[in-house]
């Protein structure tokens, strides 16, 4: 008995989530596609983003297909008042009506989330791991630079070779050497 009741309840819940209805818009291949969500008593007010009767609110489509809240008695009364002159609505009443239809104002939607802080933090942390790894490689893995790069006498020999060999005489090293005077150009 209890298991039958549990099964029946789960069927009802499943049915509420996925009610199979013929779409009002046509009878094509998607005509029997289960598409309608249970929106309770919320009023359908427009097309929304895709035509689905669900609350989708975004800066690209700021007008959702359904109202955000179900109409209470107080809201229903304000809706009647809304049909008249809007100047007679007080500011709290206007806010109440707005909050009944929308979850957030545009300002709240566009407000900064501060998401950049953890993003920057994690990025810098991972970059620092890379830099620590590079420093470890330099200290424990790489050999010293060869003597030909650190010994000043050998570097001077190389420069002499490069001058005598006319290395890069147009824009490079030998272009800075005056061959007639035998010295660097001033």
């Amino acid at each position: 008995m209890a298991s039958k009741m549990a099964l029946s309840r789960s069927f009802r819940l499943w049915g509420r989530a996925l009610v199979v209805q013929r779409r009002s818009m046509g009878t094509g291949p998607l005509g029997y596609f289960p598409s309608r969500l249970d929106i309770g008593k919320r009023e359908v007010v427009g097309f929304g983003l895709t035509g689905e009767e669900c609350y989708v609110e975004d800066v690209h489509s700021p007008f959702p297909a359904i109202r955000f809240k179900e109409d209470t008695a107080e809201i229903a009364m304000l809706r009647e008042k809304e049909k008249g002159d809007w100047k007679k609505l007080t500011v709290p009443e206007r806010k109440e009506l707005y909050r009944a239809s929308f979850a957030q104002t545009l300002t709240e939607m566009e407000a900064p989330t501060g998401e950049w802080k953890p993003i920057l933090g994690v990025t810098l942390f991972l970059s620092s791991l890379g830099i620590w790894f590079y420093l470890w490689m330099r200290k424990f893995v790489y050999d010293d630079l060869p003597e030909t790069m650190t010994n000043e006498e050998l570097v001077k020999d190389q420069i002499r070779f490069m001058i005598e060999g006319r290395t890069n005489p147009v824009q490079g090293l030998a272009s800075n050497y005056d061959y007639e005077k035998g010295q660097w150009k001033k």
């Binding site: 003597e147 890069n168 090293l173």
Partner: protein, 227 residues
């Protein structure tokens, strides 16, 4: 050879390398123009608040951003193909130089077009203590060629694949055993040019450098007489 901290090309030692540098500068100009254009729009797109998500099927803009890059690419392709075929133009040459890669040294045979052997040289790398600070670049002998004389270079190998490279001359030819790869070289100035083997060929692949000296014709003949 390269100087310390050098990022760009070495100064050209052959006429082809001059053309390569000009082509590189030309293409780099186009690349920088396109890059600037893209970066400006990228930054504008990031800092602007609103975007038009409903902007689809702009036929004119799609046409322009297809045609414009195609025109740029055609403009790059013309000099590129011109150079490509120019370096393969083997008209008159006065000397033939056969470059043979061994493990791990280069040998050169200089001949006339009628295959009369003029010189044969084996070039082994000098050890570090004898190299006057020119680590991994100096050889005991070196190849000498006359400047402003077209030379046909035939590259081959005696054992495994090597690659004969001289960056300042803009030439690189794989030395493949059983095959002759032909290169065209005309030196344009008197200088010493260095290169290194560019195809992994064993334990001493890094220790078989190439030295080539460009000299006047009479100096070249004097060198031949001394050999």
């Amino acid at each position: 050879m390269m100087s310390w901290g050098q990022l760009g090309f070495q100064d050209a030692g052959s006429y082809f390398m001059e053309e390569f540098i000009y082509f590189h500068d030309f293409t780099m100009m186009i690349i920088l123009g396109v890059l600037s254009y893209v970066v400006v729009f990228l930054i504008l797109g990031l800092i602007s608040g609103w975007v038009d998500s409903g902007f689809v099927e702009g036929q004119l803009i799609e046409f322009m951003w297809t045609i414009f890059p195609a025109l740029i690419l055609i403009q790059i392709a013309f000099p590129s193909l011109l150079l490509l075929y120019l370096i393969e133009d083997f008209s008159k040459s006065f000397l033939v130089c056969k470059v043979i890669g061994h493990q791990w040294y280069w040998s050169y045979e200089i001949k006339t077009e009628s295959s009369e052997l003029l010189a044969s040289v084996d070039c082994y790398m000098l050890p570090r203590e004898d190299a006057f600070g020119m680590r991994l670049l100096l050889t005991d002998e070196f190849l000498m060629l006359p400047i402003n004389v077209p030379v046909r270079i035939l590259v081959t190998s005696d054992d495994v694949i090597h690659s004969w490279t001289l960056p300042s001359l803009g030439i690189k030819g794989d030395a493949v055993p059983g095959r002759l790869n032909q290169l065209n070289l005309t030196l344009n100035r008197k200088a010493m040019f260095y290169g290194q083997c560019s195809e992994i060929c064993g334990a001493n692949h890094s220790f078989m450098p190439i030295m080539l000296m460009g000299v006047y014709s009479w100096e070249f003949f004097a060198w031949l007489d001394r050999l």
